[in-house]
């Protein structure tokens, strides 16, 4: 396969730290027993590996009890577990207009639950006061996308967390785009549930993610099955993590994820600086290309390394395909599974082309994309 420049890190990070590959390989060969479902040495070793991985992840998010973390395949499953496990008929939930479908589709699928969508501004930022104004007597949950996968806009979750706490409403964060690049303090921000991706900015393998659940959140499981505990009962256990975690877990992948988290912990400031540098370089370059429009805030508001842009009058998928086919650069075009966000910024008809940077990208990658867009913008 031809060499590609990869700028689709918001979907998943492509290159991982070498320890991640090595751990995945080693653990697959040597420690693939079923964690939590057996008393033999290999099963217990696998369980201990999981316990260690969760301790590392808990430390990273400032979570005091690692048992309150459930490891799962991705952010989508984590969001489903949190939202569907909490909401009941008659409840009211508040989301923002920047949510991914992995939030909006879940809340709309909940039976007899009222949904309020708080509109973000045209740059993709939510006013926390609007969230407070949407609160009703039966509001039980506020779900906020920490950073948009379309515009990169980072929300003021500290302010929204204060509001949720003041009104005794559970607060859930979709940290798919921020875990690994923006600090998340569970206690400080009054976060009751945190859904995160392991395979994006935490540099774990594909198929890794997780959910943190606060001790006061009365979640019901959405997944039923063997937990390796209380097997005599017809019901799921009532303690974490077993109450939410059924079936065989991918121990090698979670062990490798813990290596990714340690990598991020060690180099967090360098990672941030590099992503900031690359993002600014891309934005500054795009601003100088005629016929190209950047969506969201180009300069002075808090953002992650996700940049959406459009060529005036051209469908985003056509531009994305041209970038791929002619210049061998992987970007993502279309609606990015976030229709609400595109409605908010006015691109629901066209979609956008999205470039998303990661630690393993270089200045040359950005310059190659700018060269490609410059050429294509003139056609």
């Amino acid at each position: 396969m031809r060499n590609m420049i990869y700028l689709d890190n918001a979907a998943t990070s492509f290159k991982k730290p070498s320890f991640v590959y090595q751990t995945l390989n080693f653990m697959t060969k040597n420690q693939s027993a079923n964690a939590g479902h057996g008393g033999h040495d290999l099963s217990i070793q696998a369980t201990e590996t999981l316990v260690s991985a969760k301790a590392i992840i808990a430390d990273f998010f400032h979570i005091d009890d690692p048992a309150q973390i459930v490891l799962c395949q991705n952010t989508t499953l984590a969001l489903n577990m949190g939202i569907s496990g909490l909401l009941k008929p008659g409840d009211h939930v508040i989301i923002s207009s920047m949510e991914h479908n992995s939030v909006s589709r879940v809340v709309y699928a909940a039976q007899d639950v009222d949904v309020t969508v708080v509109s973000a501004d045209k740059e993709g930022y939510i006013d926390p006061q609007k969230v407070e104004a949407a609160i009703r007597n039966n509001t039980v949950l506020i779900v906020i996308n920490h950073a948009s996968n379309v515009t990169g806009s980072v929300q003021d979750i500290e302010a929204i967390g204060e509001i949720a706490k003041a009104h005794h409403i559970f607060f859930m964060i979709d940290a798919a785009q921020t875990a690994g690049v923006v600090d998340v303090f569970v206690d400080k921000y009054h976060i009751d549930m945190l859904a995160f991706a392991g395979h994006k900015s935490l540099y774990g393998p594909l198929g890794t993610g997780g959910l943190y659940v606060g001790k006061d959140v009365p979640l019901r499981p959405i997944l039923y099955g063997g937990t390796g505990s209380q097997s005599e009962s017809a019901h799921m256990p009532d303690f974490m993590p077993d109450m939410l975690q059924a079936g065989t877990l991918n121990v090698p992948a979670y062990a490798a994820l813990s290596q990714g988290v340690q990598f991020v912990s060690r180099y967090i400031s360098q990672i941030r600086e590099k992503e900031k540098f690359l993002t600014e370089r891309l934005i500054n370059g795009l601003l100088n290309i005629p016929n190209i429009r950047i969506l969201g805030n180009p300069k002075d508001r808090d953002r992650v390394g996700v940049v959406s842009f459009l060529k005036e009058g051209v469908d985003s998928v056509t531009l994305g395909n041209d970038i791929n086919d002619q210049y061998h650069i992987a970007v993502r075009a279309g609606l990015h599974c976030a229709y609400l966000a595109h409605q908010t910024i006015g691109t629901e008809k066209t979609g956008t082309v999205r470039a998303s940077m990661g630690f393993y990208n270089s200045k040359d990658d950005i310059d190659a994309l700018l060269f490609a867009v410059n050429r294509l913008a003139k056609k």
């Binding site: 201990e48 260690s52 937990t227 505990s229 097997s231 993590p241």
Partner: protein, 90 residues
């Protein structure tokens, strides 16, 4: 020397205790519990030297881990292993 068994709701809890015990140079093993201690189901516990029992109980309390039972393992005159229920201090 007698061994103590501390039974937890899940293997996760038992594994956390084992990890911390190892850091404190206290040897203990995670085991699936024999039927004599847990009549049904899958339960896991820590098997440690009885002298380390107070440490494990304090640690469990500190971590807010639910203990389902504590047993002292003894061997009778005929060589059979027996488990005597240990009442937790209130």
């Amino acid at each position: 020397m007698k061994n103590a068994w501390i039974i937890y709701s899940s293997i996760t809890s038992a594994s956390r205790i084992k990890k911390i015990c190892a850091q404190k140079s206290k040897q203990c093993i995670v085991h699936q519990t024999p039927a004599a201690m847990s009549a049904t189901g899958c339960n896991y516990g820590i098997r440690c030297n009885q002298k380390d029992l107070p440490f494990v109980l304090d640690l469990s309390k500190e971590l807010k881990l639910t203990i389902k039972g504590v047993y002292i393992e003894t061997t009778n005159e005929t060589g059979e292993v027996e488990y005597e229920k240990y009442d937790l201090p209130r």
